[in-house]
Each structure stands twice: as structure tokens, then as C-alpha cells.
Symmetry: D2
Subunit: 273 residues, 4 copies
């Protein structure tokens, strides 16, 4: 089995310092959290920027500052969000692509997101894919429902995706697919055979889906964007603490943890198609 | 196995006379098509209204006229759409409820719908359910993705749904769940045990999903809203022709076809909870 | 979708004339039934021989007589059983292979069979496969449980099977895998991608599994060996009546029925590997 | 989620001291291993006896000696095997039941077992169930294939099983169902809703199935009967080492480990039906 790629989703667009005091908000905090997660075993950092008031921003400048601060610390793969928050326009959401990061997320469909709607139209899914292809950015294709896989396969037919296609199953968002093991198997059974996949279990699903994925040959995303608890009723001390637990369990289960250079190879980042 | 309930989805919001010359548009045409489908074996008619130019309308008056014309012909269950078209507001979409029909559709989530978005926010899903409960209208809960089932179960926890909960799996909409047999099994495995369900296969999925459903104890929706062909490359002559084929196959497979009074009992329309 | 191959399983080892008066027993009856099924749409005939008292026999002479009588009538593919009955020894069971038929069944595992045991040891599964390979007989690999698929894949690794591997899912034997749609999907999902498969639903499962298979791209086996009824409580008049219904439904569902020459191509009988 | 019941399958019928030097063979060794596993977190010990040459025996006297030596050490649940080895007769296999142990295994079907056959006829499955009911022994129903579940449900219809029915999915025996996660889900989806289940993954499947089960609410069996390695290429030092790892992982995953008294309650041993 390939080594395990752990992604740290540090901040997200919705969590607040009130909910999770260790939430990294400023570029400095985010970069330091990325580095701590790198030390704990993460090879990708998934980044959402915040403005000085702590509100989500897709500002190019803020992403740029975060990217530089992270690169000064370590070689972890920088993966900005193009999902932004449910309040951002597509134009705002795409801005971090101008940094030509190695990776970026590409949300492949529309879904309820609790009381909100996470909007991803066919038109903009294609536009984002096209721009990522042009800039040689590896997309992490976010799947919230079954239909989103087919949306991704359309991109592939249009020649917009390199190999392997890399999916992120985001499971447990209220209003979208839940995170039971049969839901995961259902999604995994519908992606092309040589694809890679990671799973981001929301809230209570984070740990169980992560461990199922370790055993199944998938990869894992954890972090405050998805879940702020270490165990029921006990807040995690840091993003790194969540990463560290995954790395530890993976080793116990006989699966080694990938370092960033190994993750780049597994995902074929910067390689031939 | 219970008798088979066939729903005729006559018109929809998207098909045109250019695509399917036999599409019923005017109240008179719709009522006559409903009657023909009733004779062919349908016990429910799912109705979308059109204005005089053939464009989708959620006008109360037009629905009223259709309802009366149908009731003058037969006792088929009248089920107006509250989905309307992707261009209608929620307020427009809810108007047919004022007719206090026996049933109405209740779309339980948001999804891509080809190039468009079919928008159903948590707020309006609840509002529609509440109004249906108040008016004693039996909801047919439309499911386009896995998460929509959970949205419906939330309504159930809020006490807004009578028993049995009745689902309609709409499968094959571009951007939403496709219509393979494993997709159907996946959905069926996640609804409460004593629920009833029907399946509306879009396009090429219509006939195969219908026949799987007949064998599995589900119910079937067919009609021009979902599919305009009788076989590959051959337009259907009428909605009734599609209904008639389902009734015939069901009998061949040993399953009787429900008449409207029987469908009312199976769905517990007008009964105790 | 490929054309549908219908196999007629005329006699089996267990049914009696008392249970089903139209059961073909003598070579003459069996050959005539094979011909009637051929006319009704079958392209393979699965044969179990009986002795003059009507008991199952694996006698080479009787199989030889049946084979010749069938070949005098039509070009249907002759497929003798090497399963025989639960009372036959492996040596008895293998005898029909000496006729060098185009096909023969190869039971890939052991299972309870009601009060009996259907015994297939690893040793004899391999011996049968080896002899079929040597004689250029196409095996139809009978699967009664999940593990039997892996037994077959072992043969394939040993180089004993040509392509495509052809499976027969026998479903509904008391003590072995039942015949619900999810059982069928489970089996289908575990065979190599380019395999062909047919389904033999026992008793009440015959018709429903056949129709699911027609829709899914599988093939179908029917006949008195598996089921003696046309509908609940009504005996079938003949094997051909059961074949005819499958052919009719297949056409209604838009899938053509293969003639023997077409079946030979689909199964790669007599072709290159 | 209920606390985790860990069963230690110490010896089995097939492993030798040559393969695994720490294999407990004599009553004294077995009792000490049971105690060590108890200390490590096991609440059930699954026992196969061996004679003085180390060959499998179903001798009542040897089981009696083992039982007493275990009871002298701790209150772990003693569960003798009625499967014995593939060479034992049914009469030999049933002998440990005369000890009126709290539990015993009941193998619910026949299957290939590598080159051998593990034989369990309908007749003897019923006889064993009947005797266990008469002696108030809780059966752990061993499932090697899908059909075996239905065999068990027949016993339940005959009134031979108390509630909850307790299953043991033995997965990965060559010739029977393998041990991938979809195989496990398939089995779990077919047992009655309030059943309890444990999983015994054979060889390479032991650890992965155990961890999936911990997450899914099932229970776990480990030990030299099923697997002799701690990790690939590294023999386990003792049965207790395998138990200890499961207990540790379970705690990390937030699931507490049951002590024998708690296991008795979960399985309703000695309780009302
Ligand atoms: Mg959606
Ligand atoms: Mg078996
Ligand atoms: Zn994100
Ligand atoms: Zn509609
Ligand atoms: Zn046969
Ligand atoms: Zn055992």
C-alpha cells in the first residue's frame, strides 16, 4: 500500500476563535500551524485565509503572505482553497490560483451546506479546471455527493485533468452525503481505478473515516476546518495534535506516512501525465 | 408485494413541443393526457403547468383549471409540482398548494441540474413541509442525492411528515446521482424501513430503473418530463404509451397495477397517521 | 449492450415427473425440449442425463445419445453438467467431458444444498479445469457463494481459463447465497471486468434475477432444473415456455436475443484466447 | 457505542509450534495464555484442545481440564469450539458441550477450507443448536459465507436461538468469503438489526477487519488460530500481544473495552430472553 498522505485543513471559513481558541487566523499563525503539522506528519496543508477581523477572505495578498511564510519554514505542499466561503463570488474564489500553487481544491458540485448553499455551477467548475490546467496546478477535486464524481469525469473527458485524478471526499456536511462506511465505499467504487483519494470527515466522522481510509489505501485530511475536537467533549489542542494521532495510528496499522516529496510522487505533482 | 403505483409525469418544465410533438401543454391537453394515462394504468398524475406560450408557470389559476379538468374525467391522484422550474421563486413554486391537492412534490435538496442549479434551501424545504402538513397534502419527497434523504429525515424528526414517508428517487439528472442499479440500491438502503418509494429515471435510465423498481417492490414514474423516447431513436407517441408499457411489464412479472383508490391506501392518503 | 444469451436448463438432477409432468427425461425428450427451447430463443442447452428409471446418471453413453439427438435438430450449444447430482463421484461427474462438448459446467466450490452437500474440492476443481483446457471445452463456472469466485480466479492464475471467463451465478439454493438484487450486485462486482456472466435463479428467484440480468448486461438461465413454475401456483407447460418469456421481455427492454453462432462469439468458443 | 468485546482465539486446530513457538498447547499453557489475554483486555477465550502430541482433540477430559484451569485464574468467558478440526466427526465435535460452558461456537454451514472441506450439514447444525439451547449455552454462530446467515435464521425461526443472535464472521479462509471491507459490510447488512457480531480475520485480514469492526460497532476476535504475525514478516510474541494491540487501538478510537461481566450483559449470557 502506498504511504499515507495527511492533509492538514487548518482554518476553514466557518470556525471561530470562540469555538476553538487554537484556530490559526493570521498568516503567521497559519504558517506556524502548517509547520507544526508538517512536523507531525502532514505533507499537504489546505489553506483558507482570514482577514484581520478573522473573517474569511480570498484576497490574493493574504494568500501570498501565507504561502511565503509556509515556504520559509518547510516544503509542505501548499493547497489554497478555491471554495472560499459560501459568501464569496467565483471571481474572489479563484484569486489564489494566481499564485500558481502546486495544488488547489476544485469543488465539483453544488449542495446544501447546512442553512447555506455551496454553489458550484458547471460553468465555473470548468473555468476553474481550465485555469488550473493552464497554470499546471494539481486539482484536489472535492466531492460532496455522488453526482459530483460525474461532474469531474466530464472534466476528464474534456482533457482538463492530469493523472492520477485526485479526489477529496468531504463527508458529513449537513445537507450533503453523510460519513458512514457504506457511503465511503459507495463513493470509492465510482472513481476511475487508478485515481487517488483522500477523505475529509466532518465533525464526528473525522476520526472514523480517517481510519477506514488508512486501511483501505486512501489518504486522510484532518484539521479544524473539519473538526475541532480531539475526542467527544474535548477540544483538540492544535491542528498538529489531530495530524499526529493519524500518523501514529497509521504506523500502528502498518502504513508508513508520506513526506512531502513522496506525496508529490504519489500525486504526480510536477510530473509527466 | 404491493400493487404497483404508476405516476405519469406528463409535461415537466423543460421539454418543448419541438422536441416532443405530443407534449401536453394546455390545461385541456394535460387533462386529456392524464385521463389517457389513467386508462393505461396510472394512478397518480404529476403536473407542471405551462402558460399560453408554453413556458412553465406556477400560476394558481392554471393549476386550478388543470385540476378541475382532470377531476371531471377520472379519480386519478392529482400531484402538482412545487419544484416548478429552475427560474421560479419559492413563493411561485408553493402556489399550487393553495388548491389543497391530495399530493404534491417536495424537493429535499439542492443540486446541479445540467447548466442550472435546482435550489432548495433548508429554510424553504421546511416551509413547504409545514404548509403541506397544515393543508393535509401528502408530500412526495424528491431525492436527487444521498444527502437529500437526511434532509427529509430531519423533517420527519420535526414531526412534519405522516407515515409512510413516500420518496421519489429522481435519477440521471446531469450533475446529480446517476441511474445505475447500484445507485438505486444505495438510496433504497437508506430510507426508513416502512417507507414507500418510486423512481423517476431520467432519459435512458427511465425504462431500466422502472423495471428494477417493479421487481424490488418500489413504484414507478414515467412520462415526458423524464424521457420523451419509447426506444432509442424513436419518440414515444404519448405519455400513455409509456405508462402502458410499464403496466404490461409489471403484469408479466407477476405484479398487479394499483388503481387510484388502491394507491391512496398504499400511500395512506386521507388516512390516519 | 451485447445480445442476450439464454441457457435452457432442462432437467437437472432433482426434479421428478411427479412434480413437473413436462420434465424431459429420456434422450429423445431432452433433445426435443432442447430444440423447442432453441426455437424459443435459447442458444445454450444445459443437460443432465437420467437413466431409464428417471434417476440422475452421468453415463457417457446417455450423454452421447442426447448430444447426437440435439445436434441432429439444431446448432444450439450443448453444455453437459459435470455437477451431476450430490450422489455422484467426481469420476462419474467428469465422464461427459469425454464427448469434447463445446462447453461444460465447472462448479467452483462446496456448499450446503438443502439437506445435502454439494462437494467440490480444490483438487477436483483443478482437475476438471485442467481436463477442460486440454479438451478445449469452455467452462461455465458455477458460483454458489462469494468464495467460489476466488477459487475460479486461482484457476485463472494457473492459466487454466481462457478469456473471457464465463460465470454462472446460481442463486437461491437453500444453504447457499440467496437471490436478492444486492446479492447479485455483490457477486457481479467481484468478477474481472471483461468477464461474462449468467444467472440461474432458483425457484421464486428465477424470473426476477433473469430480468435484473437482462437490464444489467448479464445473461440468463431458466428451465425446470431451477424452477418448475410459470407463475406462483401455476406450473410451466414446458421449458420452452420459460425461455420464450425471457426472450419476449428482453426484446421489450430493447435487448436482442443471441442465436447460437452469436453466443459462440460472445463467449469466444472455438476462438483465439 | 457498546464497549468492545475482544475474543482471544488461542490455539485453533491447524497451527503448529514449528510455525509459532508461543502457541499454547497443553491445558496449562492454554489457561495461562487465556489469563494473559484476559489481562490484556479479552473477555472471551475461544478454545481448541490439543492432545499430548499437539494434535487437535475434542476430548471432553482435556476441555474440562482447560476450563478448570482458566476458571481458577479469572472470570473470562470460556468458549470451546464445536468446529474442532476438519478431521473430527460431529459426535466428537459436540463433546465440549457436556461441560455446559457459557458459550460455544456453532458453525452454520459448509465450505471449502483450503484443500479440505469444513463440513456442517443442516442436520448437525440443528442438532448442535438444539443441544446448546437445552444446556443454556450461548452460541457464537460462525459464518464463512452469505448462505450461512440464512442457515442461522432458520434456527431462529425454529426457536433455537436466544436474543441477541451473536454472529462471528470468519473471513479470509481460502475457499470461503475473503476479508475486504465490502465483504464485511455485505455480511453485516444481512443480519437482524439487534444482533451482535464479531469478526475473525484470517491471516493478513486480521488487523484491518478488527479495526473496521471497532469503528462499526462490531466486536473483534484475534489470536494464533487466525493469525500468527504481529506485522508482516514478524511473528507475534504471544496471543496477549495481539489482544493488547486491539485494546489499545480501540481506546485511541474512543471505544472502551468490555470486561467479562460487561460482555455477558452485552451478549445476554445468563439473562432473560
Ligand atoms: Mg447536491
Ligand atoms: Mg460454501
Ligand atoms: Zn476548505
Ligand atoms: Zn416535476
Ligand atoms: Zn445443472
Ligand atoms: Zn475455532
Amino acid at each position: 500500500m502506498e504511504k499515507l498522505i495527511i492533509t492538514a485543513a487548518l482554518t476553514g471559513a466557518e470556525v471561530t476563535k470562540e469555538q476553538q481558541p487554537a484556530l490559526p487566523i493570521s498568516p503567521e499563525e497559519i504558517a506556524q500551524a502548517a509547520y507544526d503539522c508538517y512536523l507531525a506528519g502532514a505533507s499537504i496543508v489546505h489553506v483558507h485565509a482570514r482577514d484581520q477581523k478573522g473573517n474569511p477572505t480570498q484576497s490574493l495578498d493574504v494568500y501570498k503572505e501565507i504561502k511565503e511564510k509556509i515556504e520559509n519554514r518547510c516544503n509542505i505542499i501548499f493547497q489554497p482553497s478555491t471554495g472560499g466561503s459560501v459568501y464569496h463570488t467565483f471571481e474572489e474564489r479563484r484569486q489564489p490560483l494566481e499564485l500558481n500553487p502546486e495544488m488547489a481544491t476544485l469543488s465539483a458540485g453544488t449542495t446544501n451546506f447546512g442553512k447555506d448553499i455551496f454553489l458550484n455551477t458547471e460553468e465555473y467548475i470548468e473555468k476553474f479546471a481550465l485555469e488550473m490546467k493552464r497554470r499546471k496546478i494539481k486539482p484536489e477535486i472535492e466531492i460532496f455527493e455522488r453526482g459530483h464524481i460525474n461532474n469531474a469525469l466530464k472534466l476528464e473527458k474534456m482533457g482538463l485533468l492530469g493523472r492520477p485524478i485526485h479526489f477529496d471526499f468531504v463527508m458529513g456536511v449537513p445537507g450533503a452525503i453523510p460519513g458512514e462506511i457504506d457511503d465511503l465505499l459507495y463513493l470509492v467504487s465510482h472513481i476511475p481505478q487508478k485515481s487517488t483519494w483522500t477523505v475529509a470527515g466532518i465533525g464526528k466522522y473525522e476520526l472514523s473515516l480517517a481510519v477506514h481510509a488508512i486501511l483501505m489505501g486512501g489518504h486522510v485530511r484532518v484539521g479544524f476546518e473539519d473538526n475541532i475536537y480531539f475526542k467527544k467533549g474535548e477540544l483538540a489542542k492544535s491542528n498538529a495534535q489531530l495530524v499526529e494521532r493519524i500518523a501514529k495510528i497509521s504506523l500502528e496499522l502498518g502504513r508508513e506516512v508520506a513526506r512531502p516529496e513522496e506525496a508529490r510522487k504519489i500525486l504526480n505533482i510536477g510530473g509527466e501525465e
